[in-house]
Symmetry: C2
Subunit: 163 residues, 2 copies
Amino acid sequence: MAKTRRICHLLLRFLAFAATLAAVIVMATSHERASIFTVSFEAKYTYSPAFKYFVIANSVVTVYGFLVLFLPKESLLWRLVVALDLVVTMVLISSFSAALAIAQVGKNGNSYAAWLPICDSVPKFCNQVTIALIAGFVAVIAYIILMLHSIHTIIDPLLLRKN
Amino acid sequence: MAKTRRICHLLLRFLAFAATLAAVIVMATSHERASIFTVSFEAKYTYSPAFKYFVIANSVVTVYGFLVLFLPKESLLWRLVVALDLVVTMVLISSFSAALAIAQVGKNGNSYAAWLPICDSVPKFCNQVTIALIAGFVAVIAYIILMLHSIHTIIDPLLLRKN
């Protein structure tokens, strides 16, 4: 039973790691050049602070996720992982929300502010951003579950010891 | 000692409640009409999905914060508050990040996407949004502290009982 739980936990950590890695790669490789009439036009993630924040946050979390995968079961650092899982979840939620807000304007525009949608001109860029956001969302969900599990594991032994 | 801690806790809860309430009121009352040449132009929070999300999220959290203020000390619902504090913190972070991302585009624009800044035309609207975002940020910080305190209080009695 304990072994199954541990395998599930490791699989979820691997999924979270893979999701953040995918989000970084897909977002970072997204750029497209389009020309409207004679004006050449380029779309790149570095042109938006929100997308840059998304890539940086997911990169840091990818490194963290990779390191945690190799943490031995008995390590005392697992107590630190509980706190770090909390921080990581909050950072991921924040970067995902900011990137989603900008992507929404990119897709639908905002007629009141006269911001035109750009997805018609650069559909490939938009698709890649969408895929990166989906990967980012999977990472957020995975880290929320991991965080709840982490909190549960520090409370659980204490509860057991109480009886 | 326990009494001082309880007063600090209540004060922080009140600060969090006041901050979310201020964020809602300031954001919801922000609208300005400007005219550029002959074109009349209006800025309102409802014109941006991110700002709408910010107002809705902060409203819900304001109601929650108000109810928790009147929860008796011995209530069993405090265990639920731990979980709700976690959810509330995540929702607040998400809505704040999304609104900040849009506000940043409103202030600086994005020359690559040809989105022009709107703050020069509607400075009063921009100021109100900035104040709402500052209040939202204070609320985020307050709820992060409250969440850490909540987690601590469920672990603490268990740790004490252990010895």
